[in-house]
């Protein structure tokens, strides 16, 4: 009984402490996080408007402002690939086919930058996994 009380008290204290620590980020933190994201997004924007493959075609030719990319719907069953796929796999499909180029490793800086740009341009689009 006494043991349970101590445990409960301990958990309550821990929860309180965690929430206090969790709230302790400053305007400075927000600025930094945003700047870091925007820097990667800018890199992605450059890649998105460059000819990454072999035939002088760029992503923005079919997707101005990343329109019709639908990151908010991935992972999803991609009928044409025959499996549940991630956005990164779809980006690589585009690199290999319309752009006639080489795919990026899924965890490469380039891939993350492209994903950041696409996600930024599609902000405020309702999250709808499995649709489109």
């Amino acid at each position: 009984m006494g043991c349970m009380k101590v445990l409960t008290l301990g958990l309550a204290l821990l929860a309180a402490a965690t929430s206090v620590i969790g709230d302790e980020f400053t305007e400075e933190d927000l600025k930094r996080w945003r700047a870091e994201f925007m820097e990667v997004k800018e890199k992605g924007e450059k890649l998105f408007h460059s000819t990454m493959g072999s035939n002088h075609v760029s992503c923005d030719q079919c997707h101005p402002n990343a329109a019709n990319t639908h990151p908010e719907t991935y992972p999803k069953f991609q009928q044409q690939l025959g499996k549940v796929a991630t956005l990164r796999e779809m980006i690589n499909w585009c690199l290999k086919n319309p752009l006639e180029g080489e795919p990026f490793p899924l965890d490469s800086k380039e891939m993350i930058a492209l994903e950041a740009y696409i996600t930024w341009e599609r902000r405020d689009v309702p999250l709808a996994p499995g649709k489109h």
């Binding site: 035939n55 002088h56 101005p64 402002n65 329109a67 086919n97 319309p98 405020d124 489109h132």
Partner: protein, 360 residues
């Protein structure tokens, strides 16, 4: 570039189907409304546009875009009845390079019909239209055909300060070629050309059907992607005294139509790739016409999906537009004299529409 026998047979089959299109079905079915008074001999013409032929290196060009134009040419050559002429709606080249324009001329030389050329921004901004004017066509002109007056505009001019700010012609071209460029500039017809159009139209009777051919839409849809002509209203004002006016434009790579007063606007298909509708970009408001029944989102796994060309027949002074959509149901959009605007013959009714694709 090699073409397998199977592929050839498949493409020839498609072309054969196009050649035997049942033209009895495309007779105007709306009758002669109060504005359809014009007397002229009905005729058909074809419209090919936005091929964006892209030079890679030496004699290499982007395969996909070459294939689109080749397919359109093959199908137009097999049209029956034969079209009186073919309009090329602009953006033959991607970056206006002489290599690209020459390549385009070479492909187009296999077309068995006369061509009326409209210049697009991708053809213009490398040398401001010099190569085009010297080797292909004047930048603006007019002609008459079987009682219909056609005016061709170079609607993709822009402000001098924008044109003169770049360090090289190619830098200017690349900045104009990027659709979502925040440093872009809206299109214009310009005062000189508006004056020319005024004088050109002065000779025409108000009952003469007028067809204006321009690359950009002569109204304002979405500025961030330059689906926009800044002085469109000035051009529209010159067209107001005519009973029936049709504007045919390329540039937007999608099924799109609109009615403003007496002017019917049709966007024509691209052979290269489809653009998304501006509504798909939620960050900025747009003015996509409410009349338009959208085409479905293109399936990226079919490289010819949502591309194609158009057959137009001109009766009652209004155009009937047959969208030849590869990989999609063909669409016919015709002027409805009772409603006074164009309607999609099959899909205008909500219940008739193709369900939206959800699996891409």
């Amino acid at each position: 570039m090699s073409i397998t026998r199977r592929k050839f047979l498949k493409q020839a089959g498609v072309a054969g189907a196009a050649a035997t299109l049942p033209f009895s079905l495309v007779e105007i079915s709306w009758g002669m409304g109060q504005k359809g008074k014009a007397e002229h001999e009905p005729f058909t013409f074809a419209y090919i546009s936005d091929s964006h032929l892209t030079h890679i290196k030496g004699t290499r060009f982007t395969r996909n875009f070459d294939q689109g134009l080749r397919k359109a040419i093959m199908e137009v050559n097999l049209m029956s009845p034969k079209p009186d002429f073919v309009v090329y709606g602009g953006d033959l080249a991607q970056l206006g390079k002489p290599e690209e324009l020459d390549h385009g001329l070479e492909l187009m030389s296999s077309l068995r019909h006369p061509v009326r050329w409209v210049i697009g921004e991708h053809d213009l901004y490398l040398d401001m239209g010099k190569y085009w004017e010297d080797n292909i066509s004047p930048l603006h002109y007019s002609f008459d055909h079987k009682g219909v007056h056609f005016a061709v505009l170079n609607s993709i001019l822009t402000y001098e300060e924008w044109i003169n700010q770049w360090s090289t012609p190619m830098e200017r071209m690349l900045n104009m070629a990027r659709l979502d460029n925040p440093k872009g500039s809206p299109f214009m017809v310009g005062e000189a050309q508006i004056q020319w159009l005024k004088e050109d139209l002065a000779k025409q009777d108000p009952s003469t059907p007028i067809v204006v051919l321009s690359h950009s839409p002569l109204y304002k849809i979405f500025k961030p992607w330059n689906f926009w002509t800044d002085d469109a209203e000035e051009v529209q004002a010159l067209l107001q005294r005519f009973d029936r006016v049709t504007v045919l434009h390329g540039h937007v790579h999608q099924v799109l139509y609109n009615q403003i007063g007496n002017i019917t606007f049709y966007a024509m298909m691209a052979t290269a790739w489809p653009w998304p509708y501006p509504v798909s970009y939620v960050q900025k408001p747009n003015q996509v016409p409410k009349l338009t029944v959208f085409m479905n989102r293109a399936d990226p796994f079919h490289e010819r999906d949502a591309t194609g060309w158009d057959i137009l027949d001109l009766e009652s002074g209004a155009i009937t537009n047959h969208y030849q959509l590869w990989q999609n149901e063909y669409r016919t959009v015709a002027y409805d004299f009772k409603l006074d605007h164009p309607v999609d013959r099959k899909y205008q009714d909500e219940d008739q529409r193709i369900p939206p694709q959800r699996h891409y």
